[in-house]
Chain length 221, copies 2
Amino acid sequence: MKIASRNGSRRRSAPDGAEPGRSDTYDFLLTVTAKLLTEKDSVDFSLSEIALRSGMSAALVQYHFGSKDGLLMALLERGTAKAADQLVALEKMPVSVSERLRIHVKGLVSAYMHAPYINRLLHHIMSSGDEARAIRTSELFITPIANFYARLIDQGVEEGVFRPIAPMHLYFMLVGACDQLVARRSALQHAFGVRELTEEMGQNFCDTLYHIISTGLAAEK
Amino acid sequence: MKIASRNGSRRRSAPDGAEPGRSDTYDFLLTVTAKLLTEKDSVDFSLSEIALRSGMSAALVQYHFGSKDGLLMALLERGTAKAADQLVALEKMPVSVSERLRIHVKGLVSAYMHAPYINRLLHHIMSSGDEARAIRTSELFITPIANFYARLIDQGVEEGVFRPIAPMHLYFMLVGACDQLVARRSALQHAFGVRELTEEMGQNFCDTLYHIISTGLAAEK
């Protein structure tokens, strides 16, 4: 029951002893929720809306997640678990520190493009007043990136490739840029004449972001 | 009645023919709202909360702003009017394009430090379903910055100082970074051991951000 204990929801054990946290239904409900969040660009929805969209009963949704906050936390955990695994894999790759940064920027832009609700979700959970959940969210989402940046900068400085900057500053710049890319899609149309955020636009932004950050990070020669 | 017509609230004319939009009470109520938003890090409040905090009657608050959305729009308008004036003044300053960027970055970081609720406010207004208000918000907040960036990059490219990048990309990076700096203050403590965002931290971040962006923007030599 790894996921159940991790998200801390009030879920009961499955009557048949199976692991509901890993069931297809559980995953399907998270996918339905992710789609709804992307469409609405807001966390204003009810469990009954998820039930309606998924064709499942509200009782089943509640059985799996306990509450709406339990559902949101489970969605965040699913996303961050995948992202954290990718960071670990990236650190093991036998590539230069610059190439590691490039791959990370690409992955980060892509993650935000495919889950534009991340920021909304983080804010909702972290300002819900549930301190334990806020700390857990920080540990799940922010700390792995923060540690990755700290090691990346250390290595780059050691190799004479990067100049030293605070990992927190790199976090603000990279996560902030990706977040802004997807945060106010409706505003893009008015201010920049962009009707829809396409994969190509994401790729172009990724190239600019990597160029600016890597050039700005470069050690003076 | 300039402000009244701009924010589109359902405010009635003051009985004595004065301009309530420019009264001390009006400004005071906006200041109380800004403080509440900063403390709560959320737009979840009621007009009665503003009345209670300000010591004014709920009827008076409603008289001035019509509704909570009217109050939030008025707050955004006050902030953006000031920011837009500063951008206009900055464009007239006889400084180099790099120095203009530096002054802007400093102003942007400072604006977010002093009104950390900006992003929350923008999101609330732009996702409220009121299309006219969303367009107005975009025109007030995003378009002036977008146009400023377009001219800044054009001038820098013309002078051989900057390489050409999309103004929208500069917007994502600069506004995104400032927004992230103030967006999840509670998370900073867990992930970076930062208890409070001080002016000095803002200044340090400002220096890093300017260095990274200006170096990254620099034309290849």
